[in-house]
């Protein structure tokens, strides 16, 4: 306890939480888990009412989380809640211990808070679904898993949560499994994540070989024993794992498809919480990261490219959720820019604000879809501002927040990341980030305008109306958070959140960072605002007066470039060609090898036996004279052997 945890400049003490509210921290993942099981078991008896259990569990979890957070805020330290052993074999020990520190608390609040809101929202949104209780059960399972991920004090327990969120995600994406492509999307998400998991597992192997433990604190404390090559490999492996979970190039492909799930799920899992797990992981291991500057450079570039790439794709999408999905990928890219340039706290800050505004935008989209009888094409919308005033208003806040217009939350977090990138000497990353920011403003404006402004383009028979209170209430709460969250948490570079998180992230020393005067930021901030406004204005001007009913001309970006963007750079197709077609070719080849070659040898041995038997059997001619010949021949051979060879 007296050791300096984390090896950070601002050290936390390590405390074993044995009493008080922190001792009850084990309840945080357990309550939703119990909720999950209880709902499943109670469904038969209680029917749709069993969903109440789930909401109760979420609320209770949020309550406990709040209490824990309050405790940590009051006495900042790293708390370990000891729990039983999970696996212990031959020097490999893993316990279920919980790790609670500042980073955990931030994540806890985001997850449980947004989670609770989405539980509530879902009451209205999922109303009438045939598997209503099961949906809530899955939500609870997700919460439990995500909380295990956040609280695990050990890479393996973290991995446990990591995988279980994948499972929940799988279950929820494929919630409407009757739709074949939804089921495929679920599977795609799981499999893609598995690829990352391999990297995660190998990373754990390397970690264990190196450190002799998978305990997070021990790793962070002893990070400096890493050789630089090992550190480089290790960081990249963790990044590969994070790239899968957080939808970065090249493993982002599952996230847009994941929009097959119910919209609140998209909001919760595929925008606010789960997909940020990769960010959490890398920030958690920041003291490892800083040992491998080259790896961080790669991370930053992955983030930047993903941000730009996804933003470009979003420009030509016309599905209300797909745009948001690519936007999420893009925003996650920003977070990884933060991680890559060493702005760990900024990344977390952006994670938080993103949870607010992206959750908000998704929920709003859900609200719109709810009103539009599950239509998702933004060209079939328009002019909803009157029909759905609350949704419109809250969406507007979300739109401004993501576009980076001050004083909304997104502005602060995104700007701080880009500024850090610039300050740390990542000029290229900064430029790409700015371009991505302009694009973000552009496509979000397009999204907003096409959905809410202009004249209605929806077909006959659709009668949009505002969603019920259970849905609008979360919208409003999130809108409020999006509006003031940034200002409240970290208005300037060294705000409260920044200071709060200081003990748990590694300081940047070695990245060519030369502290520059505050005047640099003074230049950069207006630049960011100009970029955001430029994006919005481009969108507004290009959309004005355009015939949006004509598919041929309604898009601004047309021609070959447009087609490439519309088809998402053909990445899915390329992957299909390489992995699906190639894989099935290989599979067929092995199948042939199995049946023809390996089994063929066996069966062939049988056939040869039978054939040989047939030939040999031919000697048995039935003619006694031939038998005599054989007899005499045998006699001569034996005689010859004995008399000549064996003399």
């Amino acid at each position: 306890m007296s050791t300096s945890a984390y090896g950070m400049t601002v050290a936390n003490t390590v405390v074993t939480a044995s009493d008080g509210v922190l001792a009850l921290a084990w309840l945080i993942p357990t309550i939703p888990l119990i909720g999950f099981v209880a709902v499943l078991l109670a469904t038969k008896r209680l029917g749709d009412k069993s969903a109440g259990i789930s909401i109760g569990a979420a609320a209770l979890t949020f309550g406990v989380a709040l209490a824990v957070a309050a405790e940590v805020l009051r006495n900042p330290a790293t708390y370990i809640r000891e729990l039983p052993t999970w696996i212990s074999v031959g020097g490999f020990d893993v316990r279920f211990d919980l790790l609670i520190d500042q980073l955990t608390v931030v994540m806890l609040l985001v997850v449980t808070g947004v989670g609770l809101l989405i539980h509530l929202y879902s009451v209205g949104y999922m109303h009438g679904d045939s598997r209503y209780p099961r949906y809530f059960a899955y939500l609870n399972l997700f919460l439990a898993s995500m909380l295990v991920l956040i609280l695990g004090s050990n890479l393996l327990t973290l991995f446990l949560g990591w995988e279980l969120v994948g499972l929940s995600s799988y279950l929820l994406i494929g919630f409407w499994f009757e739709r074949a492509n939804y089921a495929s999307a679920a599977k795609k998400a799981f499999i893609t994540n598995r690829v990352g998991d391999v990297a995660f597992m190998v990373a754990m192997f390397v970690t264990f070989i190196t450190f002799g433990t998978l305990d997070l604190l021990a790793i962070i404390d002893n990070a400096e024993i890493l050789a630089s090559t090992t550190a480089f490999v290790l960081v990249l492996l963790f990044m590969a794992a994070a790239a899968a979970k957080s939808a970065q190039i090249p493993l982002y492909v599952w996230l847009p498809d994941a929009m097959a799930g119910p919209t609140p799920v998209s909001a919760l899992i595929h925008a606010a919480t789960m997909v940020t797990a990769g960010v959490y992981l890398t920030v958690r291991l920041s003291s490892l990261l800083v040992l491998a500057p080259n790896a961080m450079l790669i991370i930053a570039w992955i983030g930047a490219l993903t941000a730009l790439f996804a933003a470009l794709i979003a420009v030509r999408q016309d599905d209300i959720k797909k745009i948001l999905a690519y936007s999420t990928v893009s925003q996650l890219g920003f977070m990884f820019i933060g991680v890559g340039v060493g702005a760990f706290r900024e990344a977390i800050f952006h994670l938080v604000t993103h949870a607010f505004f992206k959750g908000l935008l998704f929920l709003a989209a859900g609200s719109v879809m709810h009103a539009m009888a599950n239509r998702t094409n933004i060209y079939e919308m328009g002019g909803l501002r009157r029909a759905m005033p609350i949704t419109f208003a809250t969406s507007a806040i979300g739109w401004l927040a993501i576009s980076g217009i001050p004083p909304f939350a997104g502005f602060f977090s995104k700007d701080q990341i880009l500024t850090e990138a610039y300050l740390h000497g990542f000029g290229g990353v900064y430029v790409i980030g700015v371009i991505a920011a302009i694009l973000t403003a552009y496509y979000m404006t397009r999204w907003f305008v096409l959905v809410f402004l202009g004249t209605p383009r929806w077909p006959d028979g659709v009668d949009p109306h505002e969603s019920p209170r259970s849905m609008t209430a979360p919208l409003m709460i999130l809108a409020a958070a999006s509006a003031i969250g940034g200002l409240a948490l970290n208005p300037v570079h060294t705000g409260p959140l920044y200071r709060f998180l200081a003990p748990v992230v590694a300081p940047i020393t070695d990245l060519g960072y030369t502290p520059v005067g505050p005047w640099t930021e003074v230049i950069l901030i207006p630049l960011a605002i100009v970029a955001a406004v430029a994006g919005i204005l481009i969108a507004v001007f290009t959309l004005r007066g355009r015939n949006l009913n004509d598919p041929a001309t309604r898009e601004i970006v047309r021609g070959p470039v447009g087609r490439v963007l519309e088809n998402k750079f053909y990445v899915d197709e390329a992957y299909a060609a390489v992995f699906v077609t190639g894989g099935s070719r290989l599979g067929r080849a092995l199948q042939v090898i199995d049946t023809r070659v390996l089994d063929g040898v066996v069966n062939g041995a049988g056939t040869v036996t039978t054939k040989m038997a047939g030939y040999v059997r031919g000697a048995q001619t039935g003619l006694v004279r031939n038998y005599v010949y054989v007899l005499v021949a045998g006699m001569l051979v034996i005689t010859a052997y004995m008399m000549i060879l064996a003399r």
């Binding site: 696996i87 074949a180 894989g583």
Partner: protein
């Protein structure tokens, strides 16, 4: 009479009862068979209670003269490894019999008797400390299984049964020759005496391969696995469950008990090769599983892949990986057994195992789908379920010795997810179009009762595997010391 003998004899008594008393009604036959297996399970629990976990050696020894002329004894003893596998056996058999009561309508008496004999033989394999006795019961397991596949199996059962028989017999006979050789050196068949033998490396080499022939076929190690898909596909549900759950473990058990300690030098010499074959098996089995249209065949190939992990861990030769291998044996028994049970339930409803015939069943049979998913997840090593706690330490331990192999094998996990979830998707997801699918009834109370213990264990081991690890680890360490890698490779520490 010691508890091991009791555990072995109880099923035998049941079988004899079934064979001798001809006037039993079907109900009575079921009761006798089930009762005998449950009694054996209870007996094995008593065995567990008598077992001293801290003692790594073979214990609870029982011995009686068998063939004094050749110094052969009927000698039994258990260590943690064998006890774990005995428990797995006695746990699975009642469930298997219970599951068969509805599917096996023809000559259930013979079926039950065959199973009881099989159970007894398998327990004897795990408990034998006389190597001749081991060989005898090892071979003997073939016969009832042959009958079970051959009589109660599917359309192509004869081919599958004969293939199973000849494949395994061929391996077993090679081992028999080696055993006789060992006997001529040691002058007795006692395992303890065999351990004292001082064999030259060239002797060890061929003996190693002779033993390996028997075990590799049984496990099965690629490329001698081709009997398995056929056997699994054609076997009745109970047969498949038992085959996957228990019989495949005989080989892996044999490797641990005999191959490693007796031919330590050869083992260390050839371990890299076997690791290589294991990796090939893992990936190959998984890829071929992907291509299957028959769900049983798919699971059969998945067994090839999963047993590859067991082999990998065993020949990684460090406590972590090798102990986890034993745990993985149990896990594979549970999850693949459960999967076969579920396939059997589905088959009873639909009389087909072609994946293409299904689709959208998740809506029609949600409970079955749920269980299936859990079991599939266990099989694809989702953390929190049992498959993971076996597979991960195996890979971890292997990484310490063979990093490349471990990394390659890790991709087996991706592939496992792919084939299992793809199969799940094709069976349970998608629109519920055909009338047969729509009319498929969900699981009955009895079926839920059968699968629940398995799933409970799957989850329990996934969350709290320590008792299992504690049971096997001392024994595994003993084996590794005998194999000459006793200075247990300390994982971690020095950076590579």
């Amino acid at each position: 009479m010691g508890m091991i003998t009791v555990t072995i004899l109880l099923p035998v008594i049941g079988a004899v009862l079934l064979a001798v008393v001809r006037s039993l009604t079907v109900k009575q036959v079921q009761t006798v068979a089930f009762g005998a297996t449950v009694a054996a399970f209870v007996a094995s629990l008593v065995l567990l209670s008598q077992f001293d976990r801290t003692n790594p050696n073979l214990q609870l020894t029982e011995a009686a003269n068998w063939i004094p002329a050749v110094n052969a004894q009927i000698a039994f003893a258990v260590d943690g490894i064998s006890l774990a596998l005995i428990l797995l056996t006695t746990f699975l058999t009642p469930l298997v019999l219970l599951a068969s009561t509805s599917s096996i309508t023809d000559r259930f008496r013979g079926y039950a008797a065959a199973f009881l004999l099989l159970e007894a033989a398998v327990i004897a394999v795990f408990a034998a400390t006389d190597i001749l006795l081991f060989a005898v019961v090892f071979e003997l397991t073939i016969v009832p299984m042959y009958l079970i596949i051959g009589i109660w199996g599917g359309a192509n059962r004869r081919y599958a049964a004969v293939k199973f028989f000849l494949y395994t017999l061929a391996g077993g006979l090679a081992m028999l020759v080696a055993i006789v050789y060992l006997y001529t050196k040691a002058g007795s068949f006692a395992y303890a005496d065999m351990l004292q033998l001082d064999l030259t490396l060239s002797e060890q080499r061929w003996l190693f391969f002779a033993f390996l022939a028997a075990f590799a076929v049984k496990i099965p190690i690629w490329p001698v696995h081709t009997w398995l898909p056929d056997a699994h596909t054609e076997a009745p549900t109970g047969g498949s469950v038992f085959l996957a759950g228990v019989l495949l473990k005989l080989g892996a058990f044999g490797v641990l008990r005999y191959l490693l300690p007796l031919f330590a030098d050869a083992t260390r010499l050839y371990a890299p090769w076997l690791v290589g074959f294991a990796v090939v098996g893992i990936l190959y089995g998984a890829i071929v599983a992907l291509m299957q249209s028959d769900v049983k065949k798919l699971v059969a190939y998945s067994s090839v892949s999963h047993m590859g992990f067991v082999v990998l861990g065993t020949f990684a030769l460090n406590t972590t990986a090798t102990s986890a291998s034993v745990v993985q044996m149990v896990n594979h028994g549970l999850s693949t057994g459960a999967l076969f049970l579920l396939i059997g339930f589905l088959y009873e409803r639909r009389h087909t195992r072609q994946i293409a015939a299904f689709g959208g069943l998740g809506a029609a049979v949600p409970v079955l789908a749920g269980f299936w998913l859990i079991v599939s997840l266990s099989s694809l090593a989702l953390p929190g379920l049992n498959g993971f706690v076996g597979e991960f330490p195996i890979l971890m331990g292997t990484f310490a010795s063979y990093p490349t192999a471990a990394v390659l094998a890790s991709f087996g996990a991706v592939l496992a997810a792919l084939y299992l979830l793809w199969a799940y998707q094709r069976i349970f997801h998608g629109p519920l179009v055909s009338d047969e699918n729509r009319a498929t009834p969900d699981m009955t109370r009895r079926e839920i009762g059968i699968i629940t213990p398995l799933v409970a264990l799957i989850i329990a081991i996934g969350i709290y595997p320590s008792p299992l690890f504690n049971l096997v680890e001392p024994s595994v360490e003993r084996v590794l010391i005998e194999t000459g890698v006793g200075e247990t490779m300390t994982l971690g520490g020095g950076a590579r």
